[in-house]
């Protein structure tokens, strides 16, 4: 693919212009749609005489996105968060209408808890938590002097937000929608084509370790990206929703197949490094039919279906070849290596077949049967990071609240509100200090524009039509900035600051003193939020959290060794992928951190999967009582070693596995157990893996390395 890109000549001027225009057109379409939603919302809110039309209008800016599915997903969670926050706000006011201290403490605690909850989720679910937090503040704080009005405040807030969501949902979905379904379809197709292509091209045998690592990175990213897309697209497209389960199944099978594929290649690599070419070559020959089966054009329409019969044939051919190739080997070690590889290869072929089958089901024009196996994409969450976010947000609120009470600052409420909103909104971004700073800059710019607009433009105008014309150019500046990757945060700040400070309502008031007071208070609130991120830095992206995530990744082996078996395979794969992609998103590509992470992830993946397979086989057959303690000891020592890697634990695990292999070897009919154990052992002894650091310095003699 890269070769073709290199060989193309420089694009012609006309195509450059066309590309630029296309890009610009999508930006301006976004601006036009957002402005349309903004002003339609404002008009309806004013017609319905809602108390704060500006809230509804602000909502349309907050949920604005190029993709209709994103808008709908964000709207859905925003609605949920707003309802929950309204209930909390009313409850808090009802509990402490007279005690301002208790009121502030409980409100701060609620907001903090919501901010903490937000860090536990990725995508828009976290947004619902943020909303739940600050909606309570928005409802409760303005009525602090008049508690009986809290119910009206809550209903007004809910109506305004829901109105804004409704209008922007309809506008973004109906007016020239940009569909994410196509992106999803393309991503799924690309994932499929990449993986199949990669498998087909690597039939030749050895893949260098770094290209293996890159491939792993790509597979993980593809799996997580697909899951993220799926969770948004289901809001946009009923057809995607009805296939949602198939899509999850497709993704799970992809993860399973890619793990087995990697184990297989590590095995072949190890055999070649150990100069055990006979076994390696036999495995590569055994592998060949699979590559031929996949060697079909996969870009064409009903592609996956074509591959299915070919794969079945390849699997039959592999079964037939296995006995023949096995007969060609001699020597106990070669035979055992071959058996291990062959069982892995059969597992991989079966998983590949399932994966292609899932792809064919997805490509079918109609949903086949409703009964796709229900699978979940489990995520991995760090509760300590959430705790830090909770403490930070609560403290910010308490400090501002104390300042508000002590200084009796009339605009304290505004400052408090803004701090709440921003401390919550940006707690989940990787670099909140910088983002908050950019947004603050944009926000101040937006407020300045708002000043010019309100006192020099709006005072000259009369009627809604003219208001639209007067306001739109100022707002469009921010919206255009939102679409450029570099100024997106500035633009968001600009649009929010402008819309919020303008506070459009039916009886617009023109009071410069009040305007400036409010602007100062909002800037202080933003500054407080930014400060809070400096004082208590967020856990996300820190070395400390990365270390914890790495430890959790290693603990996945313990999960594989000890967690209850039903559903464990899916759970292991999805949590692994999620964790891995979290850490990858937070490390620089190519850095030492990132390299050691990938090395660990590969080891965890391989050993974990082998342990799960081992346990499945153990559960299926009768294990003699003399043997069971050995097997359990090797599971236990491996789990402990991965949880807390050190040289001593390594030796324990290695010896336990060797003992188990020796024990299993004495019984007949346990070939599959032996193969899994052998695979685990070879992974443990791999001198190129991350475990090499824990190996004793003395080189292993041949008989220890291949202890019976």
């Amino acid at each position: 693919m890269s070769a073709t890109r290199l060989s193309t000549p420089a694009p012609a001027v006309s195509s450059v212009i066309a590309d630029t225009l296309r890009e610009q057109a999508s930006t301006w379409l976004f601006v036009a749609k957002t402005l349309l939603a903004f002003f339609v919302t404002g008009w309806i809110a004013m017609r319905l005489a809602l108390p704060a039309p500006s809230t509804a209008m602000l909502t349309t800016i907050i949920v604005a996105n190029r993709q209709a599915g994103m808008v709908l997903a964000k709207s859905f969670y925003r609605a949920l968060g707003t309802l929950a926050g309204a209930v909390a706000g009313v409850t808090i006011v009802a509990m402490f209408p007279q005690q301002r201290d208790l009121f502030l403490v409980s409100l701060s605690l609620w907001i903090g808890l919501c901010a903490g909850g937000a860090t536990l989720y990725r995508n828009f679910k976290s947004y619902a938590f943020v909303l739940g937090g600050y909606t309570a503040a928005i409802i409760a704080i303005p009525v602090i002097d008049n508690p009986p009005a809290v119910f009206d405040s809550a209903t007004a807030r809910i109506s305004e937000v829901l109105l804004g969501l409704l209008v922007s949902g309809v506008v973004s979905d109906v007016v020239f929608p940009s569909r994410m379904r196509d992106v999803l379809r393309r991503t799924a197709r690309e994932q499929f084509a990449h993986f199949v292509g990669f498998v087909r091209d690597s039939v030749g045998g050895a893949i260098p370790r770094d290209s293996m690592e890159r491939a792993h990175l790509r597979f993980v990213r593809a799996a997580v990206a697909l899951e993220d897309l799926r969770s948004s697209v289901i809001f946009e497209d009923a057809e995607a929703r009805s296939r949602s389960n198939h899509l999850r199944l497709f993704n799970q099978r992809f993860m399973a197949a890619s793990t087995s594929f990697q184990s297989l290649h590590h095995l072949i690599n190890r055999l070649e490094r150990a100069r055990r070419d006979a076994a390696a070559q036999a495995l590569i020959r055994l592998y060949a039919p699979l590559g031929e089966a996949l060697d079909a054009p996969i870009e064409a329409g009903a592609a996956a279906r074509v591959l299915l019969p070919r794969l079945t044939m390849a699997r039959d051919a592999m079964h037939a070849n296995a006995t023949r190739l096995r007969a060609g080997l001699d020597g106990e070690q070669d035979l055992r290596d071959f058996d291990t590889g062959a069982s892995l290869l059969h597992r991989f072929a079966a998983e590949l077949h399932d994966y292609v089958d899932a792809a064919a089901m997805l490509q079918a024009p109609h949903v086949i049967g409703g009964a796709a196996e229900r699978v979940r994409f489990d995520r991995s969450n760090d509760f300590l990071g959430a705790g830090i976010a909770t403490i930070r947000t609560t403290l910010t609120m308490l400090v501002l609240g104390a300042y508000w009470i002590e200084s009796a600052w009339p605009s304290g409420a505004s400052a408090m509100l803004l701090a709440t909103v921003f401390a919550g909104l940006f707690a989940t971004t990787p670099n909140p200090t910088r983002v908050t700073w950019y947004v603050t800059l944009g926000y101040i710019g937006g407020m300045l524009a708002g000043f010019v607009c309100e006192f020099f433009v709006l005072t000259q105008l009369d009627g809604y039509g003219l208001l639209v014309i007067g306001v739109a150019p100022f707002l469009a500046v921010g919206l255009v900035m939102m679409m450029s990757p570099r100024y997106a945060s500035h633009g968001l700040g600009w649009a929010m600051g402008f819309a919020y400070i303008l506070a459009l309502k039916n009886g617009q008031t023109y009071d410069p003193a009040h305007f400036i007071n409010d602007a100062v208070a909002q800037a202080v609130g933003l500054g407080a939020a930014a400060m809070s991120f400096v004082v208590i830095p967020p856990a996300i992206g820190s070395v400390w959290l990365r270390r914890r995530q790495l430890a959790r990744l290693r603990a996945q082996v313990a999960l594989a060794a000890e967690a209850p078996l039903p559903g464990l395979r899916h759970r292991f794969e999805s949590v692994n992928h999620d964790l891995f992609s979290q850490v990858v998103a937070q490390t620089e590509p190519g850095s030492a951190d990132s390299r050691s992470l990938i090395a660990w992830a590969l080891a965890v993946h391989e050993t974990g999967r082998a342990l799960i397979e081992l346990r499945h086989d153990m559960a299926q057959q009768e294990i003699p009582a003399t043997l069971r303690p050995h097997l359990e000891a090797s599971l236990r020592t491996l789990a402990r070693f991965y949880e807390r890697p050190d040289a001593q634990g390594y030796l324990l695990a290695r010896d336990a596995v060797a003992t188990a292999i020796a024990g299993v070897g004495e019984h007949t009919g346990m070939a599959s157990l032996l193969e899994h154990l052998h695979l685990i052992r070879m992974a443990l002894l791999d001198g190129e893996s991350v475990l090499a650091a824990y190996m004793p310095d003395t080189p292993l003699s041949e008989e220890i390395a291949h202890a019976p």
Binding site: F151, V174, A238, S242
Partner: protein
Amino acid sequence: MPREIALGDALIPGLLVLFVLALLVLWLLDGLAGRLGFYRLVWHPPLFRFAVFVCVFGAFALFLH
């Protein structure tokens, strides 16, 4: 059907209740249409969906008349 409904002593407009009901019905119809692949026959699915909602909600609103 009454114009306003008392829910825990808070008066709720009947139109709001009907709106929520219409949304539910739309969600059902939408899921059904997606499952049957009906949207492939439609030029602009979101617009179609929106129009269906207007029809459903309009029909429901006749109860208030």
